[in-house]
């Protein structure tokens, strides 16, 4: 029972925890950044035989072009891909005019994480998320903390094949109420995420997408039928940053946020604050104003601390005072729940009632140590606190149909 394959074939709680521990240990060995940073992957410690080659599965959301070319319609990049070539993500390949995903169930990372690590602070606090990833990403952030998997192609990263039901079984065995599609960019393993989330929902397991939000509206709405929550990175509030630092675009991400709002699914925002690049008072003010106006005051914002990594190593860690200033700016703009990330023990990790200011959830690092919310309400003033506080609530049909 030492191989990862065996773990996924016949998972026991002990097996799953061992896998998580192994991956967590790898994270610790990889350097200090993995200790504190939110949602870093445990890479390189997956046990079991390496998947030989790649798995192949028919992709969704593409159309045919002349000369056996295809146009991908999954993300806003809309890659036009010739026969034998791959899209920007590196995990979708044109094979004779048919588009295939090469990562359906090809997991390169798996951990049992606190849901707070995603970070999701208003979604089943104190529970765990069975967190998985495949190789690949549809953008390239120069500050990516998981670049060893997100910026590689599937055949370059040791992986094991885990069909959807096997993953759901593993999640159950771990005692996790939620599967998190995370670490790299789940948009690029869309088909696997979609099928697994749909299967999991039928078996009372929730699914949260931890994403950059760089996805087209149609697949996003389709996916929302199966998801129970999402966390979206809002990398900055300028196109310049998105283009120069991420090889992406801001506008489609904002549109995704509006789609999520329209669908009615629970989601939270993370903004990694990088000194001099996206930390100006004006930018944070404009971003916060946009959030309140377009998404409402109840969408939590997490301002998290940057650490030098990957291709962006010439800037210092974000000063805590900068994060505190961003938090205050968002609060002043009317956002009700604003957090600090990657700053353990800071009061900005805690949840306070937006009506009476009572501390509702106390957190240390990525762990909830005290949760006073009762039936989704503040125990002192009775105000309903926005979020997902029970599995029934997570699995309830969203308030508005996710029409495609």
């Amino acid at each position: 029972m030492d191989s990862l394959d065996n773990i996924f074939l016949h998972p026991t709680r002990r097996d799953v925890l061992r896998l998580g521990v192994a991956c967590g240990a790898a994270g610790l060995l990889c350097g200090r950044r993995n200790v504190a940073a939110q949602d870093t992957a445990g890479t390189g410690a997956l046990e079991g035989p390496k998947l030989e080659g790649v798995v192949r599965h028919e992709a969704r959301h593409w159309e045919s072009l002349p000369d056996r070319r295809v146009k991908c319609l999954l993300c806003p990049r809309e890659c036009e891909v010739a026969d034998v070539e791959r899209g920007y993500c590196g995990v979708r390949e044109n094979v004779g005019g048919r588009y295939q995903t090469l990562v359906y169930g090809a997991l390169c990372s798996a951990n049992v994480d606190p849901i707070e690590k995603k970070p999701l602070f208003h979604y089943r606090p104190g529970t765990t998320a069975f967190s998985i990833a495949t190789a690949g990403c549809n953008i390239e952030c120069k500050f990516c903390q998981n670049w060893q998997i997100s910026q590689f192609r599937p055949e370059q990263v040791p992986s094991v094949e885990v069909p959807p039901q096997k993953l759901v079984d593993s999640c159950k065995a771990a005692g996790s109420p939620t599967i998190a599609y995370t670490y790299s960019e789940p948009t690029i393993f869309y088909e696997y995420m979609h099928d697994t989330a749909a299967l999991a929902r039928q078996q009372d397991i929730g699914s949260v997408m931890i994403s950059n939000g760089y996805i087209q509206e149609k697949p996003m709405r389709e996916l929302c039928r199966a998801l129970t929550g999402a966390k979206i990175d809002l990398k900055a509030f300028t196109e310049k940053f998105y283009v120069e630092q991420c090889a992406g675009e801001l506008k489609p991400v904002l549109h995704t946020l509006e789609v999520l709002k329209d669908v009615g699914i629970w989601f939270e925002l993370v903004i990694l604050i990088i000194p001099t690049l996206n930390d100006s008072a004006d930018e944070i003010r404009q971003m916060s104003d946009w959030v309140v106006k377009h998404l409402g005051p109840n969408v939590p914002m997490h301002f998290t601390r940057y650490h030098p990594t990957y291709r962006l190593t010439n800037l210092p860690r974000t000063p805590v005072s900068t994060l505190e200033r961003c938090r205050q700016t968002a609060l002043d703009a009317g956002v009700r729940y604003v957090y600090l990330g990657n700053v353990p023990m800071h009061k900005g990790e805690n949840t306070y009632c937006h009506n009476c200011g009572t501390e509702l959830i106390h957190r240390v690092g990525m762990q909830t140590t005290d949760n006073r919310i009762r039936d989704g309400k503040c125990p002192k003033c009775g105000t309903a606190i926005p979020g997902v506080w029970s599995q029934d609530q997570a699995l309830a049909v969203t308030s508005r149909p996710a029409e495609v």
Binding site: R68, A82, R86
Partner: protein
């Protein structure tokens, strides 16, 4: 976003050029001279009508003779062995980068190159034929050899011998990539053997584009007709200073719908394009493809929104000569 270099990128490029010059690299060393002062690079287009018929594998001897003749014209040497010795010494560890994605380099062309190297005194063990994957090499009918004897042949992904990609990201201009350990650590001299073929985004896939097979993330660098990314890849210290010779396999070409195989656009050119200035070779080969497209009634690559920007950029950066008027094109 405009693709002009900022100050930092400019300094990186200048630094890379200086390193290349210090190492005696033929391409980057040229950057020390203004364009007008450089000698016109010679590119040899060798062609034999007999090669256009039958299967390429049937023409081993004519291909070898054609290549040797092209090498003599390229160097002015009196015999073939001397021509090969102009570029290669017995102590060199030579990597022959073939192209096995889609329409592939023919092994018979590589066999002719190996014969030339052997004639120049290069031990077989010092020659390595490589690409990204073992599987693609096999599909292209190369015979893998991972032993320590004879001419070796394997992919970057080959267990133990290919050893994958370096762990550190190398930044050069706009690219940030991990390079194949083969090109980074195992060879000190490069021969590039691309195929004369079309590319749906870059316009053409020739010598320079072929080195996308040396980085772990080529999928990230296809925007804007692969420009300036191709020039960023080949100007890296692992490539340009080591690159001695390009032999474009033009025994068969493909002038549309590349890089995948599209038999309806096959072109039995029956030849080779050979040169030491890798930008000039690409410029001449691209011109051949454009001429064929005109003959076939197809639009120019620029009219299909896929101009060969990467060749122009490489020329503008001084990596070689991209101006056809300044290239000495000779035929054998």
């Amino acid at each position: 976003m405009p693709f002009s270099s900022n100050r930092r990128e400019f300094l990186v490029q200048v630094g890379a050029a200086a390193v290349g010059a210090a190492l005696g690299g033929p391409a980057l060393a040229q950057t020390s001279k203004p364009m007008a002062e450089r000698p016109r690079p010679r590119v040899v287009v060798g062609r034999d009508e007999a090669l256009a018929k039958g299967e390429p594998a049937e023409h081993a001897e004519p291909i070898r003779k054609l290549l040797d003749a092209a090498m003599q014209r390229l160097t002015g040497a009196s015999d073939a062995a001397a021509a090969w010795r102009t570029f290669f010494q017995p102590a060199n560890r030579i990597g022959i980068k073939v192209n096995t994605l889609g329409y592939s380099t023919h092994p018979v062309v590589v066999d002719a190159i190996v014969a030339g190297l052997r004639a120049a005194g290069v031990p077989a063990e010092n020659i390595l034929i490589w690409d990204r994957f073992d599987s693609e090499l096999v599909r292209a009918k190369f015979r893998l050899n991972k032993s320590t004897t004879g001419v070796r042949c394997f992919g970057t992904d080959a267990d133990r011998v290919g050893r994958g990609y370096q762990e550190q990201v190398e930044t050069n201009g706009r690219i940030g990539s991990c390079f194949s350990r083969i090109v980074a650590e195992q060879v000190d001299t490069l021969i590039c053997v691309p195929v004369l073929k079309d590319h749906n985004l870059a316009g053409v896939s020739l010598g320079m584009k072929n080195f996308y097979g040396a980085i772990h993330n080529p999928n990230k660098y296809h925007d804007h007709n692969c420009d300036p990314y191709v020039a960023d890849v080949v100007s890296h210290r692992f490539i340009a200073p080591k690159w001695r010779l390009t032999v474009v396999d033009a025994v068969r070409g493909q002038y549309q719908a590349g890089p995948g195989r599209s038999p309806e656009y096959f072109w039995p050119f029956g030849g080779l394009v050979v040169g030491a200035d890798f930008v000039a070779v690409d410029a001449v080969a691209a011109d051949l493809l454009e001429a064929k497209r005109r003959d076939a009634g197809l639009p120019t690559l620029a009219d299909e929104n896929r101009p060969c920007r990467h060749i122009a950029t490489a020329g503008a950066r001084g990596l070689g000569e991209a101006d056809l008027k300044r290239i000495e094109r000779v035929e054998v």
